[in-house]
């Protein structure tokens, strides 16, 4: 790793100013991806701007028909929050399934979604629940936030401050984890509310996507058997040492059924 200038701003405005003053700066949230990336030499920022000292962008709050989670809230806090466990248990369970205990103690919601790793868990929850990403300058619907593999709608000097998750009638997340990393080989988040059913898939493609054929089938009959015969195309799905596109396509179907069953 190369040396860099370390900044620990006290406010979002100061962090943005640090970034604007740098030719090649990076924000540091939990660091569970950023630091390994720097250790491998895949990133070598001149300035590292640590967001840990900023008040008001961590924590869980109850809103009107929604739960708002600060960007710097760790996965372990989301997993153990009594409010989330009671009102949106699928999200608490998702957070508990990320990495391991030590990673969950450091990794954050804002860091995870801003990185948009194709195998990250949170993107599926945001898209299926129709969450809104709040930044220092605007509000972005989750579906517009995740753009491509490791790419989001964020500007270079834009910081996620919180995510608002609408409460739904039923929701569940089913994941086939890579046994070593616990990243999702395929993860499917199913959410049902008055407007219909939303099915979001992570781990399978270059970025999170909605499985519209599954949504239509579940709108008519919210049961796992409604997904019988609803094939998922392997076109454009990821291929790596862990799984072929065809295997991932198969897993999408299996995980979707498990998620529907888990909705009860």
């Amino acid at each position: 790793m190369q040396n860099f200038d370390y900044h620990k701003p006290n406010s979002v405005d100061e962090a943005v100013a640090n970034m604007q003053a740098s030719d090649d700066g990076k924000f540091l949230a939990g660091g569970m991806t950023m630091l390994p990336t720097m250790k491998q030499g895949l990133a070598a920022p001149e300035d590292l701007i640590d967001l840990h000292g900023i008040d008001g962008i961590a924590g869980v709050a109850e809103g009107a028909d929604a739960i708002e989670i600060g960007a710097m809230t760790s996965h372990s806090v989301v997993a153990s929050s009594a409010l989330i466990q009671s009102d949106l248990p699928a999200l608490a369970a998702l957070a508990e399934s990320i990495g391991d205990r030590q990673v969950r103690a450091r990794g954050t919601l804002g860091g995870s979604i801003s990185n948009n790793d194709p195998a990250a868990d949170y993107p599926a929850a945001l898209v299926a629940l129709g969450a809104t990403v709040k930044t220092n300058t605007r509000e972005i619907p989750a579906e517009d936030f995740f753009v491509e593999m490791f790419e989001t709608a964020l500007a270079e000097d834009e910081i996620v401050t919180s995510v608002s998750f609408p409460l739904v009638e039923k929701a569940a997340y089913a994941k086939f984890p890579n046994p070593a990393s616990r990243y999702a080989m395929v993860g499917v988040f199913v959410a049902k509310n008055a407007d219909g059913v939303r099915v979001a898939v992570t781990g399978a493609g270059p970025s999170v996507f909605r499985a519209s054929a599954m949504e239509s089938a579940l709108d008519g009959d919210f049961s796992s058997s409604a997904l019988d015969g609803v094939a998922v195309s392997a076109d454009d799905l990821n291929s790596d040492i862990h799984a072929s596109p065809e295997y991932r396509a198969h897993l999408v179907g299996v995980m979707a059924k498990r998620a529907v069953d888990a909705c009860g």
Binding site: M1, Q2, N3, F4, D5, Y6, G31, M32, L35, P36, K39, L48, D50, H52, G99, D100, R101, Q102, V103, A105, R106, A180, S181, R182
Partner: protein, 155 residues
Amino acid sequence: MPSISLTLNGRSVSGEVETKTLLVDYIRENQKLTGTHVGCDTSQCGSCVVHVDGKSVKSCTMLAVQVDGSEVTTIEGLATGEELHPMQEAFRQNHGLQCGFCTPGMVMSAVDLVAGNPDISETEIREGLEGNICRCTGYHNIVKSVQAGAKAMGG
């Protein structure tokens, strides 16, 4: 070079560090506390687990500058003089180690995991130690040790 001050195993320490210095390297190289090990160096194996402000973290994936103002405890900070911490004693009594390389990380993770939960189940222990890898595959006795340590700590 930035300067940091922290409480390390109950002792105030301070000094300059390069920004690129990882917490584990600061502990091992600057502070000469070599009980904290580097196994994979990719935040998977857990040999480098220490406590930062009471929570177990992987010190290969934190920067030394990030613990400025924090309390850090390493394996060397657990015992009281010659008297082992109950979790260390439980590992000794239950033969919870073979080669011993993973043991400091296992013990540090275990102390955090069982805090306030003296009756922790075997399943909870196995899931809770997900982030610690033992290449001797000695998990069975490690789990027994952690269960005994939890009882001895009394929550």
